[in-house]
Symmetry: C2
Subunit: 109 residues, 2 copies
DNA sequence: ATATATAACTATAGAAAGTGAAGTAGTTAC
DNA sequence: GTAACTACTTCACTTTCTATAGTTATATAT
């Protein structure tokens, strides 16, 4: 199987903007965070909200965010399975970025 | 020649975050804006600063930003040519997003 | 006179990333 | 015994992006 790289690959480790971009600069990441800001969500809820994302991509982004310590995953060993994703305290520090984006986006056009 | 789509394609026009993401959600856009926040820049300056971007991508992103009215382009008809890119007033409204990213990025890891 | 240098791109080929549909797994309800 | 349910994974294919090689028009060096 082809691997989806975890990060953005633009890794100027000295620039904080570049470091943030490495994590939230992907096509879907900010939208995933936006959804998680209103509370924990199941995989299927995220998939429904993010119309157009492929399951492969959603899983990859969530994995990346978990690996970066920004999102926590809870698996309930039920059948059918249930998984919940939630922002960690570190992940909640992205909120000002999303808020600034919302402000900018609302003034567009 | 293959076309690079201007926008991100995730166009939930009702969500301001998605609208912002459509513009600044690309791999390089926030870094271009970051560079332009410190004043007008030539194409070659941007290319040098954004190590790893292809000339095609840089031109495409700058075109997109100009088309969205966030960046203004000035061409000096000299030889060799000289082009300058500058944030418009609308473009300067992205600054809070970059600032929030910098804040978040500086606290990572 | 010819060759070279220069900046800002554009063209092309190939690598990488992303999509959509189908499959997997394990139990429970019918 | 078959269908349903969720959270993925796999595969084939399309789209995007990178790296490298032009292109253009003049000025300067040889």
């Amino acid at each position: 199987m082809k691997k989806i790289s975890d990060f953005n690959g633009v890794c100027d480790t000295d620039c904080p903007v570049a470091r943030a971009n490495d994590i939230i600069g992907g096509k879907w990441t900010t939208l995933i965070i936006r959804d998680l800001l209103s509370g924990k969500k199941r995989y299927s809820e995220l998939a429904r909200s993010l119309a157009g994302i492929s399951p492969r991509m959603l899983a990859a982004r969530l994995d990346m965010l978990c690996g970066a310590g920004l999102v926590a995953k809870t698996v309930y060993p039920t059948v059918p399975p249930k998984t919940e994703y939630e922002l960690t305290d570190a992940g909640k520090r992205i909120e000002p970025v999303i808020a600034a984006m919302a402000e900018f986006g609302s003034k567009l056009r």
